[in-house]
Subunit: 117 residues, 2 copies
Amino acid sequence: MDRTSDSLSRTLSALADPTRRAILARLSLGAATVNEIAEPFEISLPSISRHLKVLEGAGLISRGREAQWRPCRLEAAPLRQVDGWLGRYRRFWQGSFDRMDGYLHEITNAPPKGGKQ
Amino acid sequence: MDRTSDSLSRTLSALADPTRRAILARLSLGAATVNEIAEPFEISLPSISRHLKVLEGAGLISRGREAQWRPCRLEAAPLRQVDGWLGRYRRFWQGSFDRMDGYLHEITNAPPKGGKQ
């Protein structure tokens, strides 16, 4: 399977770059134009545009239709998907090992129950 | 900056592959040998070994010293780092927009306070 053929892989791949994460951090404060986004970075506008294209491809940002400005906005849905995926691992750093043991016992001895994440 | 020059980028890049995520899911149930890990997959052992090397490089798994068996174990610390990074975005899908507005007002008008995540 190609590494970006599923949406979670595409999201994680898009996030695996410090510049793209910095762009998302900027957009978490509000919509911004490409020039506004580029301002704090010491890289070229075409470079920023390429990063924005990757973020847009992963659905992490959307761009306005206004011809000249095309403000970029953060789209949090893919991040929520990452958060959901992390859910099953969160127990490794939350709660006690006793609870972890209990969980392991539960999943290896009983069918999954509904209504529980 | 190289995309994998920081540990968070390296982790996210390692996670951006469905086979590697499936390997982590297997290891979340307990340590396993390479053969045990490979069993459910329709890909070659050398392929699995390459995936394990990427996961190990990102600190997501560790491998035992026992010469023949070298069981692999999940190491959750890098996942916790991803969870921490996601923290600033979680408010986009938790709570109300009013609280989001309140937060924006807070961070744009006041210095950060200690004791609060």
